[in-house]
């Protein structure tokens, strides 16, 4: 019985992109002027003040080509900050969020990417979804966010109660 050595080289699942997708490593540090704050302020604990200036958070989850709908604090951050979001992640993340009581935004965003298993096809769909949304006039995006405000408030309330809900599930199920 031996252990298998793990290293970045054994994350073969992350080597998903073929030549049709431009994925040259990003080597330059870049930060848009509105983005500020410490790492702690960007966690779900503290509301990052600059979120009020944006309409949609494009979340890049920890993993993308992964056998499970892996959710980290990154996906929960726009929920804590009451913003719409798209998740560049494994398929099923939105479905998992729904099962936890969160609402997503399929009436104003094409969320079909969440059901696409093939990583390349999913990526093309994500590009389309993002492009369609962010190319709208800012006034339209403001109206959309106003329209979705009840869902954003609902999601925030679910997030606050998430531990209570999960503890109840624990008591009921195990």
């Amino acid at each position: 019985m031996t252990y298998i050595v793990t290293s970045p080289f054994t994350r073969q699942n992350e080597l998903w992109a073929n030549g049709s997708i431009e994925c040259r490593p990003v080597t330059e540090k870049y930060c848009h002027p509105i983005i500020s704050g410490t790492k702690g302020e960007l966690s779900t604990l503290n509301h990052a003040d600059f979120y009020k200036y944006i309409g949609l958070d494009i979340v890049t989850e920890t993993v993308y080509n992964y056998p499970y709908p892996y959710i980290s604090e990154k996906t929960l951050r726009p929920i804590a900050c009451k913003r719409l979001f798209v998740v560049v992640a494994a398929p099923g993340v939105l479905s998992l969020l729904h099962s936890k009581g969160f609402e997503t935004f399929s009436d104003v965003l094409d969320e079909s990417y969440d059901t696409i298993q093939d990583p390349h096809e999913r990526f093309w769909q994500l590009q389309k979804t993002i492009k369609e949304f962010v190319l709208q006039p800012v006034e339209t995006i403001i109206d959309i966010v106003k329209l979705k405000t009840p869902a954003l408030e609902h999601n925030f309330e679910v997030l606050k109660k998430l531990q209570d809900i999960e503890l109840q599930n624990l008591n009921d199920s195990y």
Partner: protein, 182 residues
Amino acid sequence: MFKYTSPYELTENYKTALQSKYCVLDNFSLARFDSNFELLEKHLSNIVKSKYEPCDRIVVDHFDTDYYLNGFPYGLGLHNLFTVFRKLDIPLYVMLLVTNHYGIAREVNCLAPDPCDRPTIIETLISNLHYAGVYNDHNVDADMISIPGLCMLGQGRVHRHAIFRFIESELMTHIAVSTNPS
């Protein structure tokens, strides 16, 4: 006294709830050992018993991502975890795997083919990473919106590079971006 809490650990409330249901012999984050399973073996060797009660559990907090080889039916970290239990002759039912990997039973069933000796799996999002406990409530403030999108890229990974290259080529004026190439 300062107590370090790993982001990849269950919250204290969740740990307390588990302790009320099981006799918890130990509780550790797998992320602490994922590059050194000899260390985990040493750690668990201190709690090895000759006989285990039905309610005995070793709680494994499994909230970090695993390593996957193409064609391999389970994650390498999970394989190594089961190897530790087998080396120390700890029955697999004693393992309580608390995870945010929804559906991991298919891997566990490969590693523990005997249905009478399988770990308990609890799927939850309640780790220190996910659940902050206290949230600052702010107004939605939709009228303040001036930029359609935001994309903060963390540690370099293929999907983040790909998203950055997509934004860079077409949407840089519509999305506020930050990169972290280190």
